[in-house]
Amino acid sequence: MATTEAPLAVTAAAAAAFNRPARSLWADTWFHFRRHRLAMAGVIILTLIVLGVIVGPLLWTVPIDVYDFAERMKGPSLAHPFGTDDNGRDLLARIIFGGKISLAVGVAAVALAISLGTFVGSLAGYFGRLDNPLMRVTDLFLSLPVLPFLLVITFLFRQGIESTLGLELGAFVVIVTVIAGLTWMPVARLVRASFLSLKQKEFVEAARAVGDPDMRIIVRHILPNVLSPVLVAATIGVGGAIITESTLSFLGLGFPPDFPTWGRVLFEAKDDLDLAPHWALFPGLAIFLTVLSINFIGDGLRDALDPRRVS
């Protein structure tokens, strides 16, 4: 602490800070996170979006697939707050429904990618013999052009999986697996780097001295110390995964037509931008706000968890 090096600089405020009751790591993180204005704005916007997606269908009970050709491509009105598409379907209902899928894909893909990345990274960082081969594999994946592979793999494998798991679940499983399979590498590198330095530390030596097996040292002693950078990477990863899923759908290669994810609605809207700009605007805004607020939260977390932070 700086106070021991510069005793003259100890003011009343610093002394008060010094005497305050101890905070846990998470209380401390929250304390600093709360002061990050953009991050708090992100939390509020994201909460509203998540609430809207979960509670929305209860409040806005218009079905997503009712055709009404008298109401084609109408702009926002009281009956249709977000307007309608070229088949007269209500866009608000479709965006609420799509949001559920988009958010679920984002969270599931990141959960899978983080697990895979942490697994590979801890093995490579802890066991010296595995380091080189695992990192070569990681480098190889890093030099893959992600989007082309994503498109081709989804195309090649979806039919088979959709026929065994059903259309909706099949598409979900394929898209989540493929996104995770192509985005775990940065996490693996991050975890490996932390493991390399942490395994030299005294607390690991102490754990080994009392006879803890490798597995316990990895899970109970080293992994909790890697948690904060992984958490930040995961937060920002959710935004990335939502963008990736939207991109797939925007290219017409993601979810099937009956599942209006945000990207899918944009894909359907893009040929009528001159007639119905609202049709593209609302899903676009939904993607933008979600990703922006997630990135802000990630930034706030990074700052709040940074031990070198100066408050």
Binding site: L140, S143, I153, G160, L251, D274, A280, F288, V291
Partner: protein, 315 residues
């Protein structure tokens, strides 16, 4: 230098293997569907298998795929029945032109914005630059593309909707048309590149500004401009080069989307078309070409890194 090249070659061989395995294990194999069709007799089926070499053992099949790939011979397209490589060579210059010009735009804009942002940290200007950068890389390319179309084509009627690939530049008027139709695809990618590069330049400059050599340069009486441009910028750009290389796969991904939105006949659009028509030879060839491009640009970045930083030597 030679070692770097030697790493690139096995990387590409493994990628070729990965593509081969993907195609071989995929449940939706168009040839498999053909071979399982009831209306096709057993002899025809065997003949089809023999024509495509599908009766050979997997190792032999992979070997022939690999040697064909090394000769850049990807066979014929299922759809147009012309050699795949011809289609790709026709489309590749368009992609490289859009990606290249966008990158140049990005570098030209990002360096001054980044420098100003770092030297005037927390100023109003820095806040604007930060907000711009955030918007730039939060907006995915398909959103910026759609937005630009709404504004510049349908709103203001300034720029044409679709890219006319038959346009040939002969005189000033057609040159003007060519520029007009290239503006939006380049802007979409350029905005993304600028946003990311600005953050990199700013972050690296901030790392270097408080270092001792900067103080030395100042104390020996160098003008501030000389300190920033001659010392801090030069050192800050070295890591930026690596970060640029890491971003290259994303940039090519962005190119795919941009080409689809604006109908630029590049390899991205070719990929999307080949996937939606089930043209496997073209899709497989493009996967490999995209990988070659990414590996090649990574190699260039590595070599550039050694040129910029004399402390780094690739033996």
């Amino acid at each position: 230098m030679v070692r770097r090249l030697l790493i690139a070659i096995p990387t590409l061989v493994v990628i070729a293997l990965a593509i081969y395995l993907m195609l071989a294990t995929a449940p939706s194999n168009p040839l498999g569907a053909l071979a399982n069709d009831d209306r096709i007799s057993a002899e025809t089926r065997i003949r089809i298998m023999q024509t495509y070499g599908l009766d050979k053992p997997p190792v032999e099949r992979f070997y022939s795929w690999l040697t064909a790939v090394m000769r850049l011979d990807f066979g014929d397209s299922f759809m147009s029945h012309s050699p795949v490589m011809g289609l790709i060579l026709l489309a590749l210059p368009n992609t490289l032109a859009v990606v290249g010009v966008a990158y140049i735009v990005g570098i030209v804009l990002a360096i001054p914005i980044g420098i100003l942002s770092a030297t005037k940290r927390y100023s109003v200007y820095d806040m604007f630059a930060t907000a711009f950068a955030y918007t730039g890389f939060t907006l995915p390319t398909f959103l910026t593309g759609t937005l630009f179309l709404m504004i510049f084509t349908f709103g203001l009627h300034w720029l044409p909707y679709a890219y006319d690939s038959n346009l040939q530049v002969r005189d000033l008027a057609s040159l003007g048309q060519q520029i007009k139709q290239s503006v939006m695809p380049i802007m979409v990618l350029g905005l993304f590149d600028t946003a990311i590069l600005t953050r990199y330049v700013r972050a690296e400059m901030l790392e270097h500004l408080p270092l001792d050599y900067v103080r030395t340069a100042r104390s020996k009486g160098l003008r501030e401009q000389g300190v920033i441009l001659g010392h801090v910028l030069r050192n800050s750009l070295i890591p930026v080069v690596t970060l640029i290389a890491l971003g290259i796969p994303t940039v090519f991904g962005g190119a795919i989307i941009t080409e689809t939105i604006f109908r630029v006949p590049g390899i991205g659009q070719l990929l999307i078309n080949s996937i939606s028509t089930g043209d496997i030879p073209v899709a497989a060839a493009l996967l490999f070409i995209f990988s070659v491009l990414v590996v090649a640009f990574n190699l260039v970045a590595d070599l550039l890194y050694a040129v910029l930083d004399p402390r780094i030597k690739y033996a």
